[in-house]
């Protein structure tokens, strides 16, 4: 009979490691999340990205004047920042590899995916990492409403969902520029309701989306302007979203705070978030009683994510629905490195070509290009999306060849079976592993 520690580490974390001891009870599991709230020294945050962008604006402008030396300075600067971005990716891997329970880092991935943002340029790639530090980590054990507010008003989100292009049709800015095609962009408003809070099946109308879009006007970011709100492009007047009225006075961020607080505690949001957590951690088609329990806790606690984490950690469904989820490629690579006894130090010390060859290219070929989900709904959950022939072949190819470049000496296959799966190994696997030939080979 597998222990709680084994089950929880595999289902809520990234699996076992010979180096680490996972908590033996639900309270310990939930408490372990605190380790992921901590933001390390030198972590990328909005302030730093803002400063980089500020300097980058000057360097970029100088580089475009035609002076080759200025251009070279701009290129070198962006190359240096590219190195910092790569280090943030290694850091994400390293923290997951070192997290004793893995639960906290899994939650970081879950919430960063719930509030999906992507970058593009090196500055905005860095901003997506700042987003994790600024909007996700601080709230892993906090209130959903606070995480939602931090996420929706973060520059990474404001840009990703085009909020910075949304201008109130009757705002001061639109009235001053009658010749320019300034107007509403509904992208953030719609996803805020449909993906981030109530869910697509909930009871809301296009009118709610349009009204919310009007309410959100004013949210905008520029590295050389402080804050995230520009009254000059806010639509004047009050707006009605889901029956409640917001604003009407002098436009300010407080109106937006108000609507986010209400969306975050809506009963439909409780059901949406509860189901999404159950799908991510337990089964693609999760047992309804678990969803109901999670939703009830969300409602009763006013969206206390620490209480949600504890409810998940206590769920008997973790055991009952064992092997109902397929690890996503990031989870697969982390789990593999953990089982081989590799530590975060080793991951952080990897040289750029090795990061590409052993982690990022394989992850892409497995279907999960780093930081590039196709849309604001993030990575797919269902097993079928990941168990493609190519995806599976890449996992097998990786497992055959990458470990010998990561761990020296390689563990005996039978020992590895023990350390990776403990008492949870299936009969078929326990039968097959001792019969395997030892044949490590070079990663292409």
């Amino acid at each position: 009979m597998p222990s709680y520690a084994e089950i929880a580490a595999i289902r809520l974390g990234f699996g076992l490691s010979p180096r680490l001891t996972s908590p033996a009870d639900p309270a310990g599991m939930a408490a372990s999340v605190a380790g992921s709230v901590r933001i390390g020294q030198g972590a990328v945050t909005l302030d730093r990205v803002r400063a980089w962008q500020d300097r980058g604006l000057d360097l970029g402008a100088a580089g475009r004047t035609g002076d080759p030396a200025a251009r070279e300075r701009d290129v070198a600067y962006r190359r240096r920042l590219g190195g910092i971005y790569r280090a943030t990716i290694q850091n994400r891997f390293a923290r997951a590899v070192d997290d004793p329970s893995g639960f906290g880092e899994r939650l970081v991935w879950f919430w960063a995916d719930h509030f999906t943002v992507t970058g593009g340029t090196v500055y905005w790639n860095l901003m997506t990492d700042a987003f994790v530090q600024d909007a996700i980590r601080p709230h892993l054990n906090g209130r959903f409403a606070d995480m939602m507010l931090a996420a929706e008003t973060h520059p990474a989100m404001v840009r990703y969902l085009d909020q910075d292009r949304s201008v109130g049709p009757n705002s001061a800015r639109a009235r001053r520029n009658p010749d320019k095609p300034l107007g509403l962009n509904e992208n953030l408003a719609r996803e805020m309701i449909e993906l981030h809070s109530l869910g697509v099946g909930a009871d809301y109308s296009q009118q709610d989306v349009t009204q919310l879009a009007e309410l959100l006007t004013g949210l905008a970011y520029h590295p050389r302007q402080t804050g995230i709100f520009r009254p000059v492009q806010a639509e004047p007047g009050a707006e009605t979203v889901l029956g409640a009225s917001y604003g009407g006075g002098r436009a300010s961020l407080d109106d937006i705070r108000g609507v986010i607080a209400d969306l975050a505690r809506h009963p439909a949001t409780a059901r949406h978030i509860a189901r999404k957590m159950a799908v991510h951690f337990v089964a693609d088609d999760p047992p309804q009683p678990l969803v109901d329990r999670l939703a009830a806790v969300f409602v009763d606690t006013g969206g206390d994510l620490g209480a949600m984490n504890l409810t998940l950690a206590q769920a008997p469904e973790l055991q009952q629905q064992f092997r109902q989820k397929m690890r996503q490629p990031f989870d697969f690579l982390v789990a593999a490195m953990r089982s081989l006894g590799i530590d975060g130090l080793r991951v952080r010390a990897m040289k750029p070509p090795q990061v590409q060859r052993l982690l990022l290219q394989p992850m892409t070929a497995m279907g999960q290009a780093w930081g590039s989900p196709l849309g604001p709904d993030g990575w797919p959950e269902e097993q079928a999306a990941w168990a493609s022939p190519q995806g599976l072949a890449m996992r097998i190819t990786w497992a055959l060849s990458a470990p010998s470049l990561l761990a020296d000496p390689l563990p005996d296959a039978r020992t590895l079976l023990r350390t990776a799966l403990g008492d949870t190994a299936s009969e078929a696997l326990s039968w097959a592993v001792p019969r395997a030939e030892a044949r490590p080979r070079a990663w292409p």
């Binding site: 002076d67 340029t121 493609s388 190519q390 072949a393 055959l400 097959a432 019969r435 044949r439």
Partner: protein, 391 residues
């Protein structure tokens, strides 16, 4: 089926079970998708078309560029008295002479003004206009073509390589594979794996398919040499196209030549030429029924910049090759490089939507109706007149 939102709606209408396997009914296998083949290569990073096919007959060119696009006096091959082929593409000259190579020198997607690689490639692969939100466009035009093609099966289309190909993403099943997934299993390992996966239909089917793909490959497909990925990909694509596959898509990155272009672009053009010639060699007789289109997200500035490179522009070049092509001439008009001819005073003026060429190729080769092409594959596109690109 264009945006994530419309997709959600349409799945709701079809119902889940039908949506999960929309093309797996036995009837769909009855008709073969025909014998013609289409290869779409995405050149990521924006290829400088003015250097690949140099309009040396335009008198303004010399004043715009100092070290680039130097024309026939500096090693390029004259094609028609106006355009000259970059020396690094000279291996393709026999194709031009045989009428199997053509290009459209001034095309673009509807994307304008922001000149971001990211958005530009998304729009090129989504194949839509500017009225839809880019991030919401999750399916690509090759997938929508599949949905409109008669008699297609899951083998019909392949995306090849590790790069994510949005162009083939969508509801219609398509295969993807990278020659990097060698999955070099011993017979014993294969047996053990089969046994482990036996009771899990998902893993069993996926691994069976993967083993079939690997087993069907020519043994020397993977070179294992650095810098040869494009050849591995071309060989694999040809291998599939010689079988059931009719559409293949992959990308070649590295075209963003902001500095020292005279050093970096020849390497990329050489790769492109080698890719096309590898396809031709490996396709054998099937080359005669093949159309290869190499597309890039936008062109580059007409002026050389201060670092002997070029920056992001607008109008760019489409390259088309294949035995099914009516080549040996440039397609479409030339906008001119004089000050007043340029887009925004800096870029080549695009004269035609790049999607029109793709649409005419699909119309000719897969018999897809103009209404479908203008309505769902490239919504809102006006195909215009037939450029007579294919034989």
């Amino acid at each position: 089926m264009l945006s994530r939102r419309l997709f959600l709606k349409s799945t709701a209408l079809i119902g889940c079970s039908a949506a999960a396997h929309p093309l797996l009914s036995s009837a769909t296998f009855a008709a073969a998708p025909g014998d013609n083949r289409l290869v779409v290569i995405i050149l990521r990073g924006a290829m400088d078309g003015l250097d690949a096919f140099q309009p040396y007959g335009d008198r303004a060119l010399g004043g715009l560029r100092r070290t680039l696009s130097l024309g026939p006096d500096h090693g390029a091959t004259d094609l028609d008295g106006f355009f000259a082929l970059h020396p690094a593409l000279s291996e393709l000259l026999p194709l031009w002479q045989a009428g199997q190579l053509t290009f459209a020198p001034a095309v673009s997607t509807p994307y304008r003004d922001k000149r971001s690689h990211f958005d530009g490639q998304n729009m090129l692969e989504a194949g839509t206009g500017t009225d839809l939100d880019l991030d919401a466009q999750q399916d690509g035009w090759l997938n929508r073509l599949l949905q409109a093609m008669p008699g297609q099966a899951s083998e019909t289309a392949y995306s090849v390589g590790v790069s994510q190909m949005r162009i083939l993403q969508g509801q219609a099943p398509a295969k993807s594979w990278t020659p990097k997934a060698e999955m070099d299993l011993s017979p014993q390992a294969q047996q053990l794996l089969t046994r482990i996966y036996h009771d899990d239909p998902l893993f069993r089917d996926a691994s069976t398919q993967a083993m079939e793909i690997v087993a069907s490959l020519s043994p020397d497909l993977a070179t294992g040499k650095p810098g040869q990925d494009h050849l591995e990909i071309a060989r694999f694509a040809a291998d599939r196209l010689n079988g059931q596959t009719r559409i293949a898509s992959f990308s070649i990155g590295g075209w963003d030549t902001h500095a020292g272009q005279a050093g970096s672009l020849p390497r990329m053009l050489g790769r492109l030429a080698d890719t096309i010639l590898t396809l031709k060699a490996d396709l054998g007789a099937n080359w005669d029924r093949t159309t290869v289109m190499a597309m890039t997200e936008f062109g580059r500035t007409v002026r050389e910049n201060g670092s002997a490179g070029t920056d992001h522009g607008t109008g760019g070049t489409l390259l088309v090759a294949g035995g099914a092509v009516r080549g040996g001439r440039a397609m479409g008009d030339w906008p001119g490089l004089a000050e007043g001819d340029l887009y925004d005073g800096r870029d080549l003026m695009p004269l035609r939507d790049i999607r029109a060429y793709a649409a005419w190729a699909m119309h000719a080769k897969f018999g897809v109706s103009r209404a479908t092409l203008e309505g769902s594959v490239f919504p809102g596109l006006d195909m215009g007149s037939d450029p007579g690109m294919t034989a």
